[in-house]
Amino acid sequence: MASMERTFSLHVPSSTENLSMIRDFVKSIGLQSGMGDLEVAKLELAVDEACSNVMEHAYGSDSTKEVSIRATVDDSSVQIEVIDTGKGFDPEAVEQPEVRDLISDKRTGGLGMRLMKSFMDEVHYEMLPGVKNELKMIKRFPRRDAK
Protein backbone atom coordinates (compact mmCIF):
# COMPACT_ATOMS: atom_id res chain seq x y z
CA MET A 1 0.00 0.00 0.00
CA ALA A 2 1.34 3.48 -0.83
CA SER A 3 2.55 5.49 2.13
CA MET A 4 0.21 8.35 3.06
CA GLU A 5 2.23 11.51 3.67
CA ARG A 6 0.80 14.37 5.71
CA THR A 7 2.33 17.77 6.29
CA PHE A 8 1.66 20.21 9.15
CA SER A 9 3.07 23.69 9.61
CA LEU A 10 3.38 26.19 12.44
CA HIS A 11 4.77 29.72 12.23
CA VAL A 12 5.48 31.62 15.45
CA PRO A 13 7.17 34.88 16.43
CA SER A 14 10.74 34.30 17.55
CA SER A 15 10.23 34.45 21.30
CA THR A 16 10.93 31.77 23.88
CA GLU A 17 7.44 32.21 25.32
CA ASN A 18 6.25 30.38 22.19
CA LEU A 19 8.33 27.28 22.88
CA SER A 20 5.41 25.69 24.71
CA MET A 21 3.17 26.20 21.66
CA ILE A 22 5.81 24.56 19.48
CA ARG A 23 6.08 21.61 21.88
CA ASP A 24 2.29 21.20 21.93
CA PHE A 25 2.29 21.15 18.12
CA VAL A 26 5.03 18.53 17.97
CA LYS A 27 3.48 16.49 20.76
CA SER A 28 0.13 16.31 18.95
CA ILE A 29 1.84 15.08 15.81
CA GLY A 30 3.85 12.48 17.71
CA LEU A 31 0.82 11.15 19.58
CA GLN A 32 -1.31 11.11 16.44
CA SER A 33 1.45 9.09 14.76
CA GLY A 34 1.19 6.45 17.47
CA MET A 35 4.51 7.19 19.15
CA GLY A 36 4.94 6.27 22.82
CA ASP A 37 5.23 8.92 25.56
CA LEU A 38 9.00 8.67 25.95
CA GLU A 39 9.57 8.91 22.20
CA VAL A 40 7.20 11.87 21.92
CA ALA A 41 9.15 13.56 24.73
CA LYS A 42 12.39 13.10 22.74
CA LEU A 43 10.80 14.60 19.65
CA GLU A 44 9.47 17.58 21.66
CA LEU A 45 12.86 18.21 23.20
CA ALA A 46 14.79 18.00 19.92
CA VAL A 47 12.46 20.52 18.27
CA ASP A 48 12.51 22.80 21.33
CA GLU A 49 16.34 22.80 21.25
CA ALA A 50 16.40 23.60 17.53
CA CYS A 51 13.90 26.44 17.94
CA SER A 52 15.59 27.81 21.07
CA ASN A 53 18.85 27.99 19.11
CA VAL A 54 17.14 29.91 16.32
CA MET A 55 15.45 32.33 18.72
CA GLU A 56 18.51 33.04 20.83
CA HIS A 57 21.34 32.75 18.29
CA ALA A 58 20.13 33.00 14.68
CA TYR A 59 17.72 35.84 15.50
CA GLY A 60 19.42 37.23 18.61
CA SER A 61 16.10 37.31 20.55
CA ASP A 62 14.39 39.54 17.95
CA SER A 63 10.70 38.71 18.36
CA THR A 64 9.73 40.49 15.13
CA LYS A 65 11.26 37.52 13.29
CA GLU A 66 9.46 34.28 12.59
CA VAL A 67 10.36 30.65 13.16
CA SER A 68 8.65 28.06 10.97
CA ILE A 69 8.22 24.42 11.85
CA ARG A 70 7.08 21.95 9.23
CA ALA A 71 6.33 18.35 10.11
CA THR A 72 5.91 15.63 7.51
CA VAL A 73 4.60 12.30 8.66
CA ASP A 74 4.42 9.07 6.71
CA ASP A 75 4.17 5.42 7.68
CA SER A 76 7.81 5.10 8.63
CA SER A 77 8.90 8.39 10.18
CA VAL A 78 8.26 11.95 11.18
CA GLN A 79 10.45 14.58 9.59
CA ILE A 80 10.70 18.02 11.18
CA GLU A 81 12.11 21.08 9.47
CA VAL A 82 12.90 24.21 11.47
CA ILE A 83 13.27 27.17 9.15
CA ASP A 84 14.59 30.67 9.83
CA THR A 85 16.10 33.55 7.91
CA GLY A 86 18.62 34.55 10.58
CA LYS A 87 22.36 34.65 10.53
CA GLY A 88 22.77 30.88 10.66
CA PHE A 89 25.83 29.05 11.92
CA ASP A 90 28.19 26.34 10.86
CA PRO A 91 26.89 23.15 12.48
CA GLU A 92 30.25 21.49 12.03
CA ALA A 93 31.78 24.23 14.17
CA VAL A 94 29.50 23.47 17.11
CA GLU A 95 31.43 21.39 19.59
CA GLN A 96 29.73 18.60 21.45
CA PRO A 97 31.87 18.39 24.55
CA GLU A 98 31.22 16.12 27.51
CA VAL A 99 29.14 17.63 30.31
CA ARG A 100 32.05 17.14 32.72
CA ASP A 101 34.27 19.31 30.49
CA LEU A 102 31.59 21.95 30.10
CA ILE A 103 31.22 22.20 33.88
CA SER A 104 34.95 22.59 34.47
CA ASP A 105 35.19 25.16 31.65
CA LYS A 106 32.15 27.01 33.07
CA ARG A 107 30.26 26.69 29.79
CA THR A 108 26.89 25.20 28.94
CA GLY A 109 26.80 25.59 25.14
CA GLY A 110 26.57 22.66 22.77
CA LEU A 111 24.18 20.64 24.92
CA GLY A 112 21.16 21.33 22.73
CA MET A 113 22.97 19.99 19.70
CA ARG A 114 23.97 16.85 21.59
CA LEU A 115 20.38 16.27 22.66
CA MET A 116 19.09 16.68 19.10
CA LYS A 117 21.62 14.21 17.74
CA SER A 118 21.04 11.78 20.61
CA PHE A 119 17.26 11.75 20.38
CA MET A 120 16.73 11.89 16.61
CA ASP A 121 17.79 9.39 13.96
CA GLU A 122 19.07 12.02 11.53
CA VAL A 123 19.93 15.72 11.79
CA HIS A 124 20.86 17.75 8.68
CA TYR A 125 21.40 21.43 7.91
CA GLU A 126 21.11 23.60 4.87
CA MET A 127 22.38 27.09 5.59
CA LEU A 128 22.04 30.19 3.47
CA PRO A 129 22.65 32.82 6.18
CA GLY A 130 20.26 35.75 5.97
CA VAL A 131 18.26 33.98 3.25
CA LYS A 132 17.04 30.67 4.59
CA ASN A 133 18.43 28.23 7.11
CA GLU A 134 16.82 24.85 7.42
CA LEU A 135 17.46 22.24 10.07
CA LYS A 136 15.93 18.91 9.19
CA MET A 137 15.49 16.12 11.72
CA ILE A 138 14.07 12.65 11.20
CA LYS A 139 12.67 10.27 13.78
CA ARG A 140 11.86 6.83 12.44
CA PHE A 141 9.07 4.77 13.96
CA PRO A 142 9.83 1.32 15.26
CA ARG A 143 8.75 -1.33 12.73
CA ARG A 144 5.04 -1.89 13.26
CA ASP A 145 4.78 -5.10 11.24
CA ALA A 146 6.86 -6.96 13.82
CA LYS A 147 4.00 -8.63 15.67
Binding site: S20, A41, L45, E56, E98, V99, R100, L111, G112
Partner: protein
Protein backbone atom coordinates in the same frame (compact mmCIF):
# COMPACT_ATOMS: atom_id res chain seq x y z
CA UNK B 1 0.29 31.33 30.75
CA UNK B 2 1.64 28.94 28.22
CA UNK B 3 4.86 28.01 30.00
CA UNK B 4 3.70 27.18 33.50
CA UNK B 5 6.68 26.86 35.78
CA UNK B 6 6.98 27.44 39.48
CA UNK B 7 9.42 26.84 42.31
CA UNK B 8 8.37 26.04 45.87
CA UNK B 9 11.06 26.67 48.45
CA UNK B 10 11.22 24.93 51.80
CA UNK B 11 13.70 23.72 54.40
CA UNK B 12 14.07 20.11 55.46
CA UNK B 13 16.52 19.18 58.20
CA UNK B 14 18.77 22.11 57.38
CA UNK B 15 18.66 21.51 53.64
CA UNK B 16 17.20 23.95 51.14
CA UNK B 17 14.62 22.22 49.00
CA UNK B 18 13.59 23.71 45.67
CA UNK B 19 10.58 21.81 44.35
CA UNK B 20 10.13 22.46 40.63
CA UNK B 21 6.79 22.24 38.89
CA UNK B 22 5.89 22.48 35.22
CA UNK B 23 8.13 23.19 32.26
CA UNK B 24 11.77 24.22 32.55
CA UNK B 25 12.88 25.56 29.17
CA UNK B 26 14.76 28.52 27.69
CA UNK B 27 11.88 30.78 28.74
CA UNK B 28 11.65 29.68 32.36
CA UNK B 29 15.28 28.73 33.13
CA UNK B 30 16.18 32.30 34.26
CA UNK B 31 13.67 31.94 37.12
CA UNK B 32 15.35 28.73 38.27
CA UNK B 33 18.77 30.34 37.91
CA UNK B 34 17.68 33.25 40.14
CA UNK B 35 16.37 30.86 42.77
CA UNK B 36 19.63 28.87 42.92
CA UNK B 37 21.64 32.10 42.92
CA UNK B 38 19.60 33.40 45.87
CA UNK B 39 20.26 30.23 47.87
CA UNK B 40 23.97 30.37 47.09
CA UNK B 41 24.27 34.05 48.01
CA UNK B 42 22.46 33.39 51.29
CA UNK B 43 25.03 30.70 52.09
CA UNK B 44 22.49 27.90 51.72
CA UNK B 45 24.59 25.53 49.66
CA UNK B 46 23.11 22.18 50.69
CA UNK B 47 20.39 22.03 48.07
CA UNK B 48 17.85 19.43 47.03
CA UNK B 49 16.06 19.99 43.73
CA UNK B 50 12.82 18.02 43.93
CA UNK B 51 11.44 17.25 40.46
CA UNK B 52 8.43 14.97 40.92
CA UNK B 53 6.14 17.65 39.43
CA UNK B 54 8.59 18.74 36.77
CA UNK B 55 7.12 17.70 33.42
CA UNK B 56 9.86 18.89 31.12
CA UNK B 57 13.47 20.06 30.99
CA UNK B 58 15.59 21.29 28.10
CA UNK B 59 19.27 22.16 27.90
CA UNK B 60 18.58 25.64 29.28
CA UNK B 61 17.40 24.07 32.55
CA UNK B 62 20.26 21.58 32.64
CA UNK B 63 22.64 24.50 32.18
CA UNK B 64 21.55 25.94 35.53
CA UNK B 65 22.64 22.78 37.37
CA UNK B 66 25.92 22.82 35.46
CA UNK B 67 26.76 26.46 36.00
CA UNK B 68 26.37 26.36 39.81
CA UNK B 69 27.62 22.93 40.80
CA UNK B 70 31.32 23.73 41.03
CA UNK B 71 30.97 26.82 43.22
CA UNK B 72 28.40 25.15 45.42
CA UNK B 73 30.66 22.16 45.96
CA UNK B 74 33.63 24.47 46.53
CA UNK B 75 31.57 26.08 49.31
CA UNK B 76 31.03 22.66 50.91
CA UNK B 77 27.55 22.07 49.56
CA UNK B 78 25.96 20.06 46.79
CA UNK B 79 22.90 19.82 44.58
CA UNK B 80 21.06 16.52 45.04
CA UNK B 81 18.38 15.85 42.44
CA UNK B 82 15.34 13.72 43.24
CA UNK B 83 11.95 12.62 41.97
CA UNK B 84 12.68 12.70 38.24
CA UNK B 85 9.83 11.30 36.15
CA UNK B 86 10.98 8.93 33.35
CA UNK B 87 10.70 11.37 30.45
CA UNK B 88 12.75 13.95 32.35
CA UNK B 89 15.21 11.38 33.68
CA UNK B 90 16.02 10.23 30.14
CA UNK B 91 17.32 13.73 29.37
CA UNK B 92 19.65 13.78 32.39
CA UNK B 93 20.70 10.23 31.65
CA UNK B 94 21.57 10.60 27.96
CA UNK B 95 24.00 13.39 28.84
CA UNK B 96 25.67 11.44 31.63
CA UNK B 97 24.42 13.56 34.54
CA UNK B 98 24.11 10.44 36.69
CA UNK B 99 27.90 10.25 36.93
CA UNK B 100 28.24 13.91 37.89
CA UNK B 101 25.26 14.55 40.17
CA UNK B 102 23.62 12.57 42.94
CA UNK B 103 20.26 11.61 41.46
CA UNK B 104 18.04 9.76 43.93
CA UNK B 105 14.42 8.55 43.90
CA UNK B 106 12.77 10.93 46.35
CA UNK B 107 13.20 13.59 49.03
CA UNK B 108 13.84 11.19 51.95
CA UNK B 109 16.55 9.54 49.84
CA UNK B 110 18.08 12.95 49.09
CA UNK B 111 18.15 13.82 52.80
CA UNK B 112 19.69 10.43 53.55
CA UNK B 113 22.24 10.96 50.78
CA UNK B 114 23.48 14.12 52.51
CA UNK B 115 24.29 12.09 55.61
CA UNK B 116 26.21 9.50 53.56
CA UNK B 117 27.93 11.71 51.01
CA UNK B 118 27.55 15.48 51.59
CA UNK B 119 29.37 16.08 48.29
CA UNK B 120 29.25 13.63 45.42
CA UNK B 121 32.64 12.28 44.47
CA UNK B 122 33.05 12.47 40.70
Amino acid sequence: MANPFSIHKSTEQGLSVLALEGYLDAHTAPEFEKAVQAEFEAGRVRLVVECSRLNYISSAGLGVFMSFIEEIRAAGGDIKICGLVPKVFQVFDILGFSALFDIVPDLPAAIQRYTEAPVKET
